[in-house]
Symmetry: C2
Subunit: 495 residues, 2 copies
């Protein structure tokens, strides 16, 4: 692939300047159009050490309006504290903005492989996750442009030497850069593999001959201009299809068939609860020590008791190690990002417990039922969520997901009891009553969600919560068991 | 101060439980009231190792609605990369929310003093900055509550020993905790000094006897309840005074008296520009190597050429090391925070150049003139901004501030030229014309700003930009000189 690149291509300074005079205003206009149409644009500049990536990036940035872009240069990371893609996900561009990246996910995979001796199979998994990530951005209406700046070994060596001879620049020539030159053929092989594994229709690579600076800059700028022009021309808003498409009533059987469970005596409940909380506290300390990330997801029917259940979990935890994320409607900033963005930011770091009171499943529940997204969008969300959870799980994040279910009569009783209690009446909103009117639609959506997102790595636990006590015990039991199992696996993995 | 605390105070479990049943709903109601009235609440829990700060924090968190608080536990920081207060500033609560802190700015100052042997005078400077920071929060309508959990040396020793005997907890007893016990009297002295230096009317300390857990928890919860109740009762929105109060016309003389400067020949300009850009590039590499933070601020009359001037600076920089922050109207999230918050987040880290296209000075310019804040607010902003810039400067941040000035005729000519050029007409907005109508008000505001915020550590450079070329050369000269001077001082400091 890379040997087909004609490295002798060059461009005169004057010729470049006149091309730039032509390109710059067109790029400016495209940037304003992308803003108006709310299209996020991600541009990644990769390539060899010494290929002048920094200066090439700057040529691009100088043509852009600073009010509409952010540039991110990633430095090599030390010890990981979170799944590989997370820091990149967090800085994906919101709608209408550009994000320009240098030294991101690709550089990380290559360096891990070549400098830290990671297995080829790990790279394959990383490339798979990268493709899923880029496809998700493209599916959400984004444009993904990737450039690989290519120079040959001789040219690279000459440039590194030249820099070393410059008082200002010598400091920046790292041993890794020389390593890359020494093992140029190894790097080339890996780069080829990367380019072919991740060059997709939705996020293609452009190979940039970078021997001549002007030619490389022109190649990047003109490609950005051409591709953006194409993409913006093709953009059309998908027709809003019928709200109920794809909803079938039969699936709700799953939930209504749940056996109602009995009550639990005071003393038995108290004993069992303190026992489980003691165990959870002790497990939490191990989670912290062994740097395990834990995510607990609570979804369920309104008034099914999510808050109370979460409280029974947090009562026994140290506040340093957990965070509860109550999830409501997205705010302005969140609305401008990919719908998963606000969760990416909050996934647990190593040794932390993140508790989601409602979650990313809103996409296939409330957003589906209330028509806040298109049917295509919520339908593709099942796969997108599964991909995301697999990425978390591969990083050994413990994912425990609860669906809390009460029946319709019990919900009415609870709403009425809340409404009648001055200290709790604020908990009951008109939305709750409106959602209740759509009970069947929500049940159908929940059933489909449970079916399509119960995976081996992130299964759902459905809990009947007509009896709050039994439910809380069941939830604490599931949490402690999942964590204990994961700690056990960790133990084995280490041996 | 601390010896007056009666450490024998205690509370029976049952008594505590019944007090809690009474307090929890009242705290919940106060939290909802704080949200409705948009009052940010900051609660800090400090104290001795072994005083059970974590569990005490959790007792407080459990009474709060998770939709309205964030808890922040700060771990000891390693090498600093930014001014001491910055990470804390970033997580101050937005309006209507609670932020609960443990191990924040106070712990950091104490530990630096006691474990890293920092000078007493450094502590004094830190306490001064802390008081300014807390006063700013209070002045902006916030409530600041600080607790110091006190136990005596014997009790601390017993608790550390007990933890060491517990398999789960032993891991968490650090050598620093034992150090604190061994040098208890030193720590006590420093804590006393801290409590008296930073116990202010707007952010008082509450001393908490923490021998008995229930008593300590009750003391914290009941104090939060009482103080919040008081503060919320006293909250009243300051009357919107006349827009123009405090504006006097005489001050604008400063600007109109500037001598118009001549033009510059093509060749001379090109030569001088490349020379300065080359020098700036070389300085930038040193800035990066020597980890100097640099902030460049560009303010000025509309169409005075801020964008073009910034471009001449960024053309010569590496994109990894600089970021341009275009500052417009604050977004939803920013509006809910202190007005300086969105800048705190973007101050340059070590070795980086942050370029602000408009800045925090909007408070005393557009917000003043357009009546977007009260006269009290913009009047106190001068002091607040000076305090903030001193904090940055004490951390050795290089601050270079430019005011770009053109005369009223030149502005008209530039507006008309923009309006007539299809590629630049988007740059001209109705706002520009509206601002032009208030030319005198803006000039007066600018003059007062220049007078009141030109300090020895962050002086303004006023640049007449009727001649763009001369102006750009002057700006680049000022930037390179300021950086060169700062690097020189660094050099001397190291020797």
């Amino acid at each position: 692939m890379l040997e087909t690149v004609d490295l002798s291509l060059s461009m005169k300074k004057k010729e470049y300047k006149s091309a730039l005079d032509d390109l710059a205003p067109r790029l400016g206009a495209l940037q304003r159009r992308a803003r108006e149409e709310g299209v996020p644009v991600l541009i990644l500049i990769e390539g060899w050490e010494g290929a002048n990536k920094g200066r090439l990036v700057n040529e691009l940035l100088l043509t852009l309006d600073p009010r509409g872009y952010r540039f991110h240069a990633f430095e090599r990371r030390g010890d990981e504290e979170y799944p590989f893609l997370l820091p990149y996900l967090e800085v994906t561009p919101p709608r209408g903005e550009f994000a320009v990246f240098s030294g991101g996910w690709y550089a990380e995979v290559l360096l891990r492989r070549l400098l830290r001796g990671e297995e080829r199979s790990d790279c394959t998994a990383a490339f798979r996750d990268i493709c899923a990530f880029e496809r998700q951005l493209a599916d959400a209406g984004g444009v993904v442009l990737k450039f690989f700046c290519h120079i040959d070994r001789k040219e690279q060596k000459a440039r590194l030497k030249e820099r070393e001879g410059d008082l200002d620049l010598a400091w920046f020539v790292t041993p890794e850069a020389w390593e890359e030159n020494k093992r140029y053929d190894d790097f080339l092989l890996c780069a080829e593999e990367m380019l072919s594994s991740t060059g997709t229709e939705y996020a293609p690579w452009t190979l940039v001959p970078a021997t001549d600076f002007q030619y490389a800059a022109w190649k990047i700028l003109s490609t950005v201009e051409r591709v953006l022009d194409d993409c913006l021309a093709r953009k059309r808003h998908p027709a809003q299809d019928s709200l109920l498409e794809g909803v079938s009533d039969g699936e709700s059987a799953l939930l209504s068939s749940m056996e109602p469970e009995g009550a639990m005596e005071d003393q038995e409940y108290d004993d069992r609860l303190s026992e489980l909380q003691r165990e959870l506290r002790s497990l939490e300390l191990r989670v912290f020590r062994e740097k395990l990330p834990v995510a607990l997801v609570f979804e369920g029917v309104d008034a099914a008791g999510k808050g109370g259940a979460i409280r029974r979990v947090t009562e026994s935890l140290y506040p340093m190690n957990y965070t509860v994320y109550p999830v409501g409607a997205p705010d302005d900033q969140e609305r401008r990002h990919h719908y998963l963005w606000r969760f990416w930011k909050n996934f647990p770091r190593d040794g932390h417990v993140a508790i989601f009171d409602r979650s990313w499943y809103g996409r296939v529940l409330v957003e589906r039922v209330e028509g806040l997204c298109t049917p295509e969008e919520w339908q593709s969300a099942y796969r997108e969520i599964n991909e995301m959870e697999r990425h978390l799980s591969d990083y050994r994040t413990v994912l425990v997901k609860f669906w809390l279910q009460i029946d319709k009569d019990e919900q009415l009783a609870r709403f009425e009891s809340r409404g009648g209690d001055p200290e709790r009446s604020w908990k009951l909103t008109p939305d709750d009553w409106r959602n209740r009117d759509k009970w069947d639609l929500y049940q159908t959506a929940a059933a489909e969600m449970l079916l399509r997102t119960s995976t081996s790595y992130a299964p759902w636990t459905v809990v009947a919560t007509n009896s709050k006590r039994l439910a809380r015990i069941r939830i604490l039991t599931a949490v402690t068991e999942s964590i204990r199992r994961a700690l056990g696996q960790e133990g084995r993995r280490k041996r």
